[in-house]
Amino acid sequence: MTRYLKLFSKMKQVKILALIVIALFALLLVSCVPGGAPPARGWSGTAVQDGILYTGSVDGRVVAIDIETRGEEWSYAITVPPPTTIYSTPIVDGDLVYIASYSGKVLALNTLARGQNLPFPQSRYGEWEWDCPGAKVGNNAIVADLLVTEDAIYVSSSNGRVYSLDKEFGDVNWESDILHEKLWTSPVIQGGTLYVSTFDGHIYALSAETGALLPWFFKSKAGFASSPVLYNDTIFVGSFDRNLYAIKIGDDEPLWKFPGGKWFWAAPLVNEGVVYAGCLDGKIYAIEAEAGGKLWEFDAGNPVVSSPVLMDNLLIVADESGTVYAFDLNADPEDRAVVPLRPISINAAVKGSLWAQEGLVFIRGQDNKIYVLDIERGRLSWEFPLDY
């Protein structure tokens, strides 16, 4: 009987303790489990002009690096508490660098003013800053690359609207209707019309002058994952249904659909009638732009998150694991499909867009470092840490 008594008493204690432990453990796991709440780290790409490389760092700085001296020219921290990050790739236009932050800011930074570390913004240098409106925190985040034309800057926002900004002062020319819950893809422009893909499967056409919705739109059952690309009046865009769509402007049915193993997340590249598309299934596909037939494919073995780029006759593709491939587009098609030039591995995840020129490829890795690859020699030329 004494044994029963002790057992009963212990069971009560165990019950209480177990409940407390479970509750605390739940909190701990919910906070820490992998995949639970990874912070937004950004994947800004690189841009090069006049020997200076521009990029956005993981900690929300715009950084300019002199390629020749391999030293930092200047950096500017977009200080919004809590610290923000950058997904968009800088766009350089004359002395101005345009960039957008995850905190919903669009900035025009003057390279001369930043080089002198003057307080921002210097209006006499043409600098400005624009805050995207949002109904709540995160609702105004800007994830997509900016579209910069001669006349204006076009911004897709997480609040679901497209904005047209004046290039000189950053004033809002117009704002579109809400196209979807959030817009994370960049618009493309052709002949005064903007084309925007949405996560709910629409391609909308907007007047670049007024932002008004034009009569034609395309609707797919599944949403569009990638930004659209325009070539010969045809829009190429990746979908959540694992297809790459070719949509003739004005048509209600797709010209063709090309099936991948997973999403076509990155915007494809179209060159001389061939669509080059990286897929999250780890493959790079070359597809006929007109007919949608597969010309060749290469299995990188890791998801391809960033868009391919062209450098002369070379197609440059990086997979997510940090291996960079170069395909000679002048080579025999059969060789091209299976034998890229020497792949180069940087051992850092690659998600942002690449910049390639004069035999060099510039990459911002997810480890917050800049990698410069010498494609001809098939090796890493130099690297630059963006961390302080």
Partner: protein
């Protein structure tokens, strides 16, 4: 280990939720409610055993009161006899833990599924590509609508939901917690009765509303099943209004 987790629990829950969402009029909130019902059905054998146990404990109250009268001054003997009575009736005081333990992995999977499916950050959306099955019903549902009633299912800190979760948990616990004969144990039970709802109410403020919605619906289902199995409100006593007879 992590891959096994996603293969067995994480991905099925995620894909199930996304598919349910598309079937249920693209309402992610309805999908969470449907999932809650499914989980409750799966854990039904354990829940019903717990409810039966509660019912048995309720029916034993007259006998326990008799024991209290008989051994009121001898606490040790009273506890011995009470425990003996429970044992004879096949009542397990720890039985109520199992339904909660069963649901524990579901909570984690649900939390991950909500964060991924609602694509709170671009990283979440990209990560989603690796977790979704190739089903048409799934691809057509992505990304999901986070709005449900007044809630943003991906956001945290909803006070009304915290009160609902805390309140329903208190009611459910109150219905099933038998009063103890030992004043010390009674004090502990009372503390637990208050602490658990408060803790979960506090958790609601820190997790996405989608997960809190699961807790709230789960509690409500628990109250309803408990009511019908035990044939009433159990140990929950309502204040008597109006003149006493």
């Amino acid at each position: 280990m992590l891959e096994a987790w996603y293969l067995i629990i994480g991905n099925p829950v995620l894909n199930g939720l996304v598919a349910l969402s598309h079937i249920l009029f693209d309402e992610f909130g309805l999908a969470i409610i449907a999932l809650t019902v499914i989980v409750r059905l799966i854990s039904w054998p354990l829940t019903s055993r717990q409810s039966e146990s509660t019912k048995a404990m309720q029916s034993m109250q007259p006998k326990i009161q008799e024991l209290q009268k008989k051994y009121g001054k001898n606490k040790q003997k009273l506890q011995q006899e009470t425990m003996k009575l429970y044992k004879e009736a096949g009542v397990n005081p720890l039985g109520c833990l199992w339904p909660m333990l069963i649901q524990f992995p579901i909570w984690i999977a649900l939390y991950q599924a909500i964060m991924n499916a609602l694509a709170a950050t671009p990283e979440h959306l990209l990560d989603l590509a690796h977790r979704l099955y190739g089903w048409e019903v799934v691809s057509q549902a992505i990304p999901l609508n986070s709005q449900f009633l007044w809630l943003d299912l991906g956001s945290q800190g909803d006070l009304i939901l915290a009160i609902i979760v805390g309140g329903t948990m208190w009611v459910q616990q109150k219905m099933t917690t038998a009063p103890s004969v030992d004043p010390r144990q009674q004090a502990t039970s009372s503390m637990m009765l208050l602490m658990m709802p408060l803790m979960f109410g506090f958790f609601v403020l820190m997790v996405p509303s989608g997960l809190a919605l699961y807790w709230a619906v789960s509690n409500i289902i628990g109250i309803i099943t408990q009511y019908f199995i035990t044939g009433g409100w159990g140990y929950l006593k309502f204040p008597v209004l109006g003149p006493r007879s």
